[in-house]
Structures are given as structure tokens and as C-alpha cells.
Symmetry: C2
Subunit: 144 residues, 2 copies
């Protein structure tokens, strides 16, 4: 499975913005977040753009521009973030339609579909049980 870091980086950005705001600042720039996450500002802007579409953050343009939270972290779950930045199912079906004249080729897709849906539902429930506030607490709890 080709793992990707989109959820990790998105959570990083949200935690960073929240902490920065708690220190009294109004907005955080993609440049600052990118420095903390050790990546490119455009990567951050792309991800935050998706979070904005999902209503998790807001952005201001012009002078003194930047990003701020649209909701409190405790009303924001990892599922919200996951759905904002991840697309498509965890497991895929055959790339080419299997032989419909074969019993297995005919029945395998509905069978796996049902199983995969159950698994994704469980994943969602798991993600929904963790708020971004929980994540930030864990972040701050890391031993020095």
C-alpha cells in the first residue's frame, strides 16, 4: 500500500495554527507552517485549501494575510480532516472487469465491495473518535 502523508501534514498544520493563535496571533502563514513541517509553502497552501473547502480553516488575503481556524479543535475530528484531504477508497477493485462468465469473476466484486465498505465504516468510526484537540494534547505531551 502506497502510504501518503497528507493526513499527517494536515494535522500538523492545524495543530500549528491553533497553537500560534493561542499565543495571541491572528493568522499563520503557509511559510511558517511549511518551515515547521519541513516542506514547501505551496504544499501547505494546497492542503489548507482543501481544509478550507471543508470548512475547517479560513484564509485572508492581502497584507497581513494568512490562515486561521474556522472551528475549535475540539469540534474537529480526524475524520473531518481525513475526508477533506483523502480521496477514494482504501482498497480498489480489479482494474479491468473480471470474466463475468466465471462464477468467481461474477461474484467477487459485490462480495469484496461489501467487506470493504464494512472496513471503511470502522475506519471512519475510529477516526471520528479522535479530535484535533486530542492530537494537540498528545503533541504537547511528547517528552522533551
Amino acid at each position: 500500500m502506497s502510504a501518503n502523508s497528507r493526513l499527517t501534514i494536515a494535522a500538523h498544520a492545524l495543530a500549528w495554527i491553533s497553537l500560534y493563535q493561542r499565543q495571541g496571533h491572528e493568522v499563520a502563514t503557509s511559510e511558517q507552517i511549511a518551515t515547521s513541517a519541513n516542506t514547501n509553502p505551496v504544499v501547505i497552501r494546497r492542503l489548507l485549501g482543501e481544509l478550507r473547502r471543508a470548512g475547517l480553516v479560513e484564509s485572508r488575503r492581502g497584507m497581513g494575510a494568512g490562515w486561521s481556524l474556522a472551528r475549535e479543535l475540539d469540534s474537529m475530528t480526524l475524520l473531518d480532516v481525513y475526508e477533506a484531504v483523502e480521496s477514494g477508497p482504501l482498497f480498489a477493485m480489479h482494474r479491468a472487469t473480471p470474466d463475468q462468465g466465471c462464477v468467481v469473476g461474477y461474484g467477487i466484486q459485490p462480495a469484496m465491495q461489501g467487506i470493504y465498505e464494512g472496513i471503511e465504516e470502522t475506519l471512519r468510526r475510529e477516526l471520528a473518535s479522535v479530535t484535533m484537540e486530542d492530537v494537540l494534547r498528545d503533541v504537547l505531551a511528547a517528552p522533551r
Copy 2:
């Protein structure tokens, strides 16, 4: 998330071999399975090779060669298949180490690591609760 069909194809192959054996045949060829799955025999051989390494199937070479199950389907769970054909974690950390001088950059990896481990454990439990016998039953239950 880049979904892949390795688990689906592996399950397809196992179900096909089992059904074929229940019809009285000793071994199935990668050619036959590939026809049912509408892919290339080498793709099937690659996947079945991984299942063989995991002790789920056996192969014979020479004349009358092919693949057979090494265990009954009801003693084989989707987790066994998943672990045989999938590698690496579902979610990845940052590709470049985040800024260790930043509180968030320092604490984010252990925080997310812990959360991801819990999620993967849940996924494993879910996959372990479905046997390949269940899958084959579902396959055969597809309405005509």
C-alpha cells in the same frame, strides 16, 4: 490515497483455486486464474508467490504444474492475505523530518504514530474477522 487491488486479486485467486479444487481438479494454473481475473498470468504468479511465502498456497512445477491451497479456506483470514500482499503502514509520516526545534514539529510524529497504530490494530482485527470461506460464500451468493 492511492488504492490498490492487490488484496482483491489475491482473494479472487484463492477463491478460484478453492472452487476449482472442489470441482475435483488438483491444481489451477496462473493462466486460468488470470483469465478469470482479466489480467496477466505473471501478475497472478507474483501475487501467489507472496501467498506461498506466507504458507497459504503451494505450487508444483514441471508437467501438470499449477497452484493448490496449503490450508482450508476457513482457516485463512483476510488478515493473512493482507499481510502477505500488502506492505507498509496505511498512513505515512512526514517525508522530511519536521523542525525539531518547534514544539509541534517535535511532538507531532509520536502523537500521530500512536494514533495510527491504534487504527491499524483495528483494521487488522476487522480483517481477521473475515475468513476466505466467508468470502467464497459471499461470492457464490451473488444474485444471477
